[in-house]
């Protein structure tokens, strides 16, 4: 049982480059989320989606884009990478919303922008 799968696990980007972090879940969850965690900090919500075709901004959306064309996939796109985007990125999913439902997290993607 795969759960939430993120790729790549590690990536080094040069300033100005772009890339996509892939996230897929096999639990048929409607809700999907992208968080980032900076050293010594809690997780900050970047974007989330309540279903295919629907996305919304979280706390720190600037510099990122998302799409949700299928229930399973929720890729996060970084355009014009900046050193401030060096972080650990976590994708997550849940069946419904947060109340009373467990959110499952992927293992994380470590991104360094140099």
């Amino acid at each position: 049982n795969a759960g939430v799968t993120q790729t790549p696990k590690f990536r080094i980007l040069k300033i100005g480059q772009s890339m996509t972090l892939q996230c897929t879940q096999d639990m048929n969850h409607n809700y999907m989320y992208w968080y980032r965690q900076d050293p010594g900090m809690g997780l900050k919500l970047i974007y989330y989606s309540v279903g295919a075709g629907i996305t919304d901004k979280g706390e720190v959306p600037n510099g990122y884009n998302v799409s949700r064309s299928t229930t399973e996939d929720f890729p996060l796109r970084l355009e014009l990478a900046a050193p401030s985007q060096t972080s650990v990125y976590f994708c997550a999913s849940s069946k419904q919303g947060i109340g009373g439902n467990t959110i499952y997290f992927g293992e994380g993607s470590w991104l360094t922008v140099v």
Binding site: V4, Y31, Y33, Y35, G40, M41, G42, L43, K44, L45, Y48, V50, G58, E59, F90, A92, G97, I98, G99, G100, T102, I103, Y104, F105, G106, E107, G108
Partner: protein, 112 residues
């Protein structure tokens, strides 16, 4: 503006004793609270949650207490085990939203 605060970055407890992790929040619109546990190089895993209509929720060795008037919640682990050594995050949801606001985490170390 840190709406969810975990003021103790680390806690060290002897095996078999009680671990108490604390969390304070500022937003009175939070109605659901969760605790997550995170090991290095892994994603957070759900531990226990509590609705704002309750003041206590228990699951095995883990109990969460909520004091709404003080905007404070705590996680009790009894008895503590070495495998509990991890970073613990408190998280809160504002009513009618699907966004979780996380605290900065407390690193718990349980030593023999």
């Amino acid at each position: 503006d840190q709406q969810v605060k975990q003021n103790s970055p680390s806690l060290s407890v002897q095996e078999g004793r009680i671990s108490i992790l604390n969390c304070d929040y500022t937003n009175s619109m939070f109605d659901y609270f969760l605790w997550y546990k995170k090991y290095p190089a892994e994603g957070p895993t759900f531990l226990i949650s509590i609705s704002s209509i309750k003041d206590k929720n228990e699951d095995g060795r883990f109990t969460v207490f909520l004091n709404k008037s003080a905007k404070h919640l705590s996680l009790h682990i009894v008895p503590s085990q070495p495998g509990d050594s991890a970073v613990y995050f408190c998280a809160a949801r504002a009513i009618n939203t699907d966004k979780l606001i996380f605290g900065t985490g407390t690193r718990l170390q349980v030593f023999p």
